[in-house]
Amino acid sequence: MQIFPRSANAIARASLVLTVVVVGGLLSGLMLLERTPYITNAGIRKAQPVPFSHQHHVTGLGIDCRYCHTSVETSSFAGIPPTKTCMNCHAQIWTNAAYLEPVRESFRSGRSLEWTRVNQLPNFVYFNHSIHINKGVGCNTCHGPIDQMPLVYQYASLQMEFCLDCHRNTEKYIRPREQVFNMRYQPPSNDLMGVHEVAFNGKTYSDQESLGKALHEQYNVRSVKDITSCNTCHR
């Protein structure tokens, strides 16, 4: 006897196809989700006690990174400025700007400002600022156009693949040490836009390739298999 209607055939086949599509979709969806800002927090601005603008202070006033992040060249930790540092200037200027009240309050009461951490690594990752700075990795290589940020956000995904990308081709990224804190630094290029040269050790380079090599020499950057060994970042 006929149990199913004519349409059953179409439905049966359709459902098979659908199952495959749905399962595949879900899996790849997860893979994608893993890389979204929702997970990585990249590009997300976080509320801060004071709307501190790097754009204003760096681009506007041309303050050097190290004025506030004092230990960046000597310690694993770049350093968050004590309220004192803010007050150095803000004792004189903007002395009664409302949005600076928390700073003054902190200085009066001796209670710290509590910033929300923006660039956060899992606690089994041991990142060290000093070595990167000293080997010619620019601030904005990881922190992005921080000098353009009114409110700081995390620029990169900071996932392992992000770190590996650089650790596997350092020569693509490093720059002369004197350029590390230069937010306007352009890697050497030679293309339709014209030639952009970068000077290093008296020589000028017009392509990152050769510059990278030279810097490798100079700073004796460790080999890829050295800096992709697990214990470079995990202990």
Partner: protein, 1043 residues
């Protein structure tokens, strides 16, 4: 302080391989937020304020049951939902576990010379029985995290002992007393001063006749002068001293010999022949052991002028295990032997009256040979007597050293280091009499725990409980047995929280400086005494500085003060050697020769000393050097005796002595003298804390001032039943029924001279592989790391284990888990016995990860959580580990450790402060192991790399990079370094003929290798030791089947 990124790593808990923090509950992160904004002292004041708050109390006194293991089974604490939450949170793709926002809290005003994220070291000293161990303490943003030896200091030379190493845990012990209490109610410090002011004023009118001060051994010049000046002002007041593990016999012996109490100090670096009469001078607790070990080990080099050690001992000790000739002998018989020996070297002594039983066949033979050997090395030999031998033995030893002309060469006499070298027993006795007869109105107990450890016959506890004494003040870190019986309990500041000073075994004074403000507002003895002296308000800092100001003669005191603080010792304070004349040449025998019954020996516990460290998890779980027991003290007897009494491992037996009885579990110790029993002090505490309470059994009730160390007439009877003893070692012999395994290689000196590279096992050829042999060019690297361990130097002192535990945040798992074989020590020291069971040879073998080049563990890890670094390290990536345990199964050396349960304590905030921020804290289900302290390697590398870039020339990591075990080793038995540097020490060692790798035939190609052990037996006495007649009882089997 919380701006230290690294520290937040250790402190906070999030991300795939960590356990969740309780959000709802106040944890340290929150504490930090509330207190971080103030600096220095303020910081801590705000902590005190905070301490008032309810949830802080709740957090501090959070209930967690006794015995680490039980924490893990306590569901209410590690709540079901929370753990599930963890699993769920982590159940997503790794990336998918979102990190919660955390705060960064900067300073308001940053203190000078503080670079966030970089540790600093400060010199100070740890004291035990008054004697100082000079140390450097690593401080991460004002949190002391690790103790190192002070390389500058003559008493340390970089080495430490287990107690100093573990003291860091005591600082953060959550069980420490936190408030001043009067009859259990919380009081303030001013209130306390008020309360004692009354009685004080009365007393001062009566010249302090009712005042008694009871201290432990004091070497602190400042404290001593404080007390003395008070006593001068109030001549009626008295200062009593009590230490259960004391050196009365030493000083009495000296009095006997020279008529005055002198400190005896030895120089083992010059000693060719050493005779130890029951002296365990190579183990922590023996004053100077750190330095002695260094000197002794230095002379064990078979290629140099190797020394020879004879040990006659009543309890197998690590010193005995290192001996070239060792004779087990009942403590009571040793005097007889000493006399015979003395006679042998012509000190005009009559030979020992009663014949001591003599294992090496014929008294004549063996003591004559020793005598000859000694006489053959006049001025370059040492006869050293143990603290628990009666004064006469010490006197005889002095006589021998005199006769051998060792004095001034290898043996030195000086002022007692102890500021008040009264005989402890008598001193306490006198005090108790006064207390009972109501002479005492105000009793100040400054530290110690007499209610627990006083001689049984004094019954100090009851004397203290009785109302005969009006005001009883106890200064102590814990609310222990004694604190319970005093009205006033003032929390004592940990030495890392206090200003003070102390003298090392050679008299060198060190200024003890605090690294952290008292966590719970603890006070020091100094501050208590200032109240007596009516000069309150003076801080420890003031007092110490004032004292040394007085001592300091030269100009510029500040420079002197700063230098002393920096160096960790004060120039020219070492006691000068003094010459003393031997009074008489014959001393009456003190001990009667063995009567009926067994001899009972009391010994300090190798791990928890006299019980003061009972609440220290690291020490409780530290395998005792010979038995590898943890968490318990056994009744130790020899194999023969066990056979006669039909006693077996773990049998519960009743021990009767002086009519008192205690029950304990039997441990059969190879090499223990026959008809003799050894028990260990310090266990069976009733108020030690959550770790130490009710572990083991208390033997103090058997201990009287008549027989403080040993006595005859003990009875031992099995009462049936079994008590589980947790030993971390399965099998204590290398013998198997099918032959001996080549784990520890050993030869006698002349055998070695004949065949220097006897230890080499042939490794399979490199191309013996199915693969096209692919070389990983380690030699082309800047560094390739390796380690060599000299089995000849290693004295099994266990330092490396504790150092490793402290450096690498290794968890304590508790007795229950240890019984299951789940202890976590990355580095273990195996103890093997070989030869006749009544007097076997002993071997110590420290076993860290071998860092095999062909690592079997790496091959089988399914997720590449353990793979090789380019520099030849066997990396273990905790956050990648899924926990199959396959690597451990496949590790021939079994050096891997697994978190079977949540072993790390994620909640106790104190522990978060304590941990090393540079090492990941492993969560449940993760494998862990020794990594050659890779965090230290990384830091040194980063520093040198940075420096070389800056200075434009290449700078390499040198010998200053040391692993934690290497750094703390008093014997210099461990060397770690760069195999690619031809001049590195490790290369030199590996080039030695006696260098071998364990189980080489497996072709694992370990980076950690061993230098074979060489003994230097007296050719005349070969027979005594070399015989391998009857194999040992395979202890593991016995234990294994007896559960």
């Amino acid at each position: 302080m919380s701006i230290d990124e690294n520290k937040t790593k250790a402190a906070s808990a999030k991300g795939p391989d960590v356990c969740p923090t309780k959000r709802n509950q106040l944890d340290l992160a929150t504490v930090k937020e509330q207190i971080a904004d103030t600096t220095g002292p303020e910081y801590w004041r705000s902590l005190e304020e905070l301490a008032g708050t309810e949830e802080f109390q709740e957090m501090m006194h959070r209930e967690f049951p006794k015995g680490a293991s039980e924490w893990l089974d306590d569901f209410s604490r590690r709540g079901f939902l929370k753990t599930m939450g963890a699993s769920l949170a982590l159940a997503g793709l790794t990336g998918c576990t979102r990190m919660p926002d955390t705060e960064i809290v900067p300073y308001v005003k940053q203190p000078e010379n503080v670079i966030p994220g970089r540790p600093k070291f400060y010199a100070t000293a740890f004291t035990l029985g008054g004697y100082a161990s000079p140390i450097l303490v690593e401080s991460h943003m004002f949190r002391p995290t690790k103790v190192e030896g002070n390389p500058e200091h003559p008493a340390s030379l970089g080495g430490t002992d287990i107690y100093a190493q573990a003291s860091i845990l005591d600082l953060y012990d959550p069980d420490r007393a936190k408030d001043i209490t009067y009859l259990g109610d919380v009081r303030s410090w001013p209130a306390f001063m008020e309360a004692v002011k009354g009685p004080m004023s009365v007393e001062t009118r009566m010249a302090g006749s009712g005042v008694r001060i009871l201290t432990q051994g004091v070497t602190s010049p400042t404290l001593a002068s404080q007390i003395k000046s008070y006593l001068d002002a109030n001549p009626q007041a008295k200062w009593h001293v009590w230490e259960p593990v004391n050196r009365d016999n030493v000083y009495e012996g000296a009095k006997l010999a020279f008529g005055e109490a002198v400190e005896t100090r030895y120089d083992f670096s010059k000693a060719d022949v050493i005779v130890s009469l029951d002296a365990d001078f190579l183990y922590a607790g023996f004053p100077g052991s750190t330095r002695y070990t260094r000197d002794f080990a230095a002379r064990r080099n078979p290629d140099g002028n190797m020394n020879r050690l004879y040990v006659i001992e009543s309890t197998p000790s690590s010193t005995g295990m290192k001996a070239d000739h060792r004779w087990p002998m009942r403590a009571g018989e040793i005097e007889g032997y000493a006399r015979t020996l003395a006679a042998g070297i012509g000190t005009g002594f009559a030979a020992g009256t009663a014949g001591f039983n003599n294992p090496a066949g014929g008294a004549t033979k063996f003591d004559k040979t020793v005598a000859t050997d000694l006489s053959g090395h006049r001025g370059s030999s040492i006869v050293i007597a143990g603290d628990h031998q009666p004064p006469s033995v010490h006197a005889i030893a002095h006589a021998m050293n005199q006769a051998l002309g060792n004095v001034g060469q290898t043996v030195f006499y000086s002022e007692p280091v102890d500021a008040n070298p009264v005989k402890r027993g008598e001193s306490l006795n006198a005090l108790v009499d006064d207390m009972r007869s109501g002479k005492v109105d105000l009793l100040l107990i400054l530290g110690g725990n007499p209610a627990y450890d006083a001689p049984a016959e004094l019954d100090f506890a009851s004397a203290l409980k009785s109302n005969a004494v009006e005001t009883k003040v106890y200064l102590g870190t814990h609310r222990n047995e004694t604190a319970e019986l005093c009205q006033w309990h003032v929390p004592e500041a940990h030495y890392l929280e206090s200003w003070s000073d102390a003298r090392a075994y050679d008299g060198t004074a060190t200024i003890i400086q605090p690294l952290i403000e008292p966590l719970y507002g603890g006070k020091t003895a100094h501050e208590i005494v200032t109240i007596l002296a009516g000069q309150p308000g003076l801080t420890g800092h003031d007092l110490v500085q004032q004292y040394w100001q007085k001592q300091h003669t030269g100009a510029d005191f500040d420079a002197f003060w700063r230098k002393s603080l920096h160096d960790g010792w004060i120039e020219g304070t070492q006691h000068a050697p003094k010459t003393v004349a031997l009074k008489s040449a014959s001393f009456s025998a003190t001990q009667s020769m063995p009567a009926s019954g067994f001899e009972l020996n009391f010994r300090r516990d190798p791990s928890i000393y006299d019980g003061r460290f009972a609440n220290n998890g690291w020490l409780q779980e530290l395998p005792k050097p010979l038995t590898k027991l943890t968490w318990d003290n056994p009744i130790m007897i020899g194999p023969a005796m066990a056979e006669r009494l039909k006693l077996n491992f773990k049998d519960v037996a009743e021990l009767e002595f002086n009519g008192k009885k205690v029950k304990g579990a039997i441990w059969i110790q190879a090499g223990h003298p026959d008809n003799s029993i050894t028990v260990f002090l310090g266990y069976g505490r009733t108020r030690a804390g959550r770790i130490g309470t009710d572990t083991g059994f208390d033997v103090y009730p058997l201990r009287t001032s008549q027989a403080p160390w040993f006595g005859d007439g003990a009875k031992l009877t099995a009462v049936g039943g079994i008590y589980q003893l947790a030993s971390t070692q399965g099998y204590q012999t290398m013998e198997t029924p099918v032959g001996e395994r080549p784990l520890v290689m050993e030869r006698s000196l002349e055998e070695y001279k004949k065949e220097p590279n006897f230890a080499k096992e042939e490794e399979p050829a490199k191309d013996l592989t199915l693969y096209k042999p692919q070389e990983f060019p380690y030699e082309k690297e800047a560094y390739s790391w390796g380690m060599a361990i000299d089995l000849n130097s290693c004295v099994g002192c266990n330092n490396c284990i504790v150092a490793c535990q402290s450096e690498n945040n290794i968890a304590v798992v508790g007795k229950e888990q240890t019984l299951k074989g789940r202890h976590m020590h990355w580095l273990r020291v195996d103890a093997y016995y070989n030869g006749p069971r009544d007097n076997p040879k002993g071997f110590f073998q420290p076993v860290p990860c071998m860092q095999c080049e062909n690592a079997p563990c790496e091959l089988v890890c399914p997720v590449q959580a353990t793979i090789h670094s380019s520099e030849g390290l066997n990396d273990m990536v905790y956050n990648r580990c899924v926990g199959t345990r396959y690597c451990s199964n496949n590790c021939p050396y079994k050096v891997r450790r697994f978190n079977f349960l949540l072993f790390q304590d994620w909640e106790t905030p104190q522990f978060k402060l304590m941990r090393n921020p540079d090492v990941t804290i492993r969560s449940r289900g993760v494998m862990e192991k020794c990594t050659y302290c890779v965090q230290r390697i990384s830091e040194h590398r980063i520093d040198t790399e940075t420096a070389s870039v800056r200075e434009g020339k290449e700078i390499r990591i040198g010998e200053e990079l040391q692993t934690a075990c290497q750094q703390s080793c008093p014997a210099n038995a461990i060397v770690f370094g760069n195999l690619n540097d031809p001049n590195s020490q490790v290369n030199k060692w590996k080039a030695l003929p006696r260098n071998y790798s364990m189980l080489a035939e497996l072709n694992t190609r370990p980076r950690t290798t061993y230098l074979a052990e060489i003994r230097n037996p007296n050719p005349e006495l070969q027979s005594g030791l070399q015989s391998k007649t009857e194999a040992l009882v395979p202890e593991a089997e016995l234990q294994a089947e007896r559960t």
